[in-house]
Point group: C2
Chain length 133, copies 2
DNA sequence: ATCAAATAGGACTACACAAGGCGTATATAG
DNA sequence: CTATATACGCCTTGTGTAGTCCTATTTGAT
């Protein structure tokens, strides 16, 4: 509960790595070996980050990945959103349509939790990749 | 991911309810019916909150629960910790012994995530039950 | 042309956790 | 004694996480 997935952690490690080598092209093999990350899992993460326009891919021999934007312009929240695919919410009513929660109309805590949700988003959005290199 | 469990939500709803009736004794049946919460699930949550000294139980007929401390002295973090039982951490190395993570020594993001963890704890700890009544 | 290196992506398994249901024991007011 | 209430363990079901395996496609180098 309240835990980041390994995929997100792997994504952050990979992005930080690319930033740390001055955005030189890096391969999945290289990163997975250096940080002992399962290569297939990391590969899928990189593909998602590519689709999310956070990194850029170069196919074929001598290919790999670079950052698609400057490290100062990538937040931890960006990485989480892209990898998870779904809206990040501390409660069902924030990540899906509110009516999905069977007790929505009776719920007395959605407003206060909304405030927490907002603060949470701020914490994740304000931390940029440039700060973790 | 990053979502509160229903147990925690139920616990918060229940605690807020008791606070809202000026700490008069309340039963599981009463609360579960009012907010449409499965009675068995709520019962277990209340038992955990009792063991965690957040509420006080009165057994037998005419029994029920009251708050064990003032609403201003109960934080959302207290409720989460007691109901979950385990340490709340956004990564494995914060909620268990660090060595459990197989890539701990190679991990380059544990320090920045530690900062996020700290901010997170502040957000949950600073919100008190008295603010959600 | 061929080969090797690299990304792209689908299918599948194993496991852990979340959510809830059920049954029974114990305490206590009236 | 009985009705009401908490205490607590066991079990099922569904969902999500983490990881493996396999194949296709792209592309630089020989
Ligand atoms: S409505 Fe209340 S209970 Fe339902 S998800 Fe939102 S917060 Fe949780
Ligand atoms: S060490 Fe790094 S990877 Fe392992 S849990 Fe902590 S943060 Fe996540």
């Amino acid at each position: 509960m309240l835990k980041l997935s390994k995929k997100v952690e792997y994504g952050l490690i990979a992005i930080r790595h690319i930033a740390s080598v001055n955005n030189h092209i890096s391969t999945v093999k290289e990163i997975s070996e250096k940080y002992i990350i399962p290569v297939d899992v990391l590969a899928k993460v990189m593909q998602k980050l590519t689709k999310g326009k956070i990194i850029t891919s170069y196919q074929g021999a001598m290919g790999g990945y670079t950052l698609a934007r400057k490290a100062e312009e990538i937040s931890v929240m960006d990485v989480i959103s892209v990898i998870e695919g779904t809206q990040v919410g501390i409660a069902q009513c924030f990540s899906e349509v509110p009516e999905n929660c069977s007790i929505y109309t009776n719920c007395t805590i959605k407003n206060p939790l909304g405030k927490i949700q907002h603060n949470l988003e701020h914490v994740f959005s304000s931390m940029k990749v440039s700060e973790i290199v």
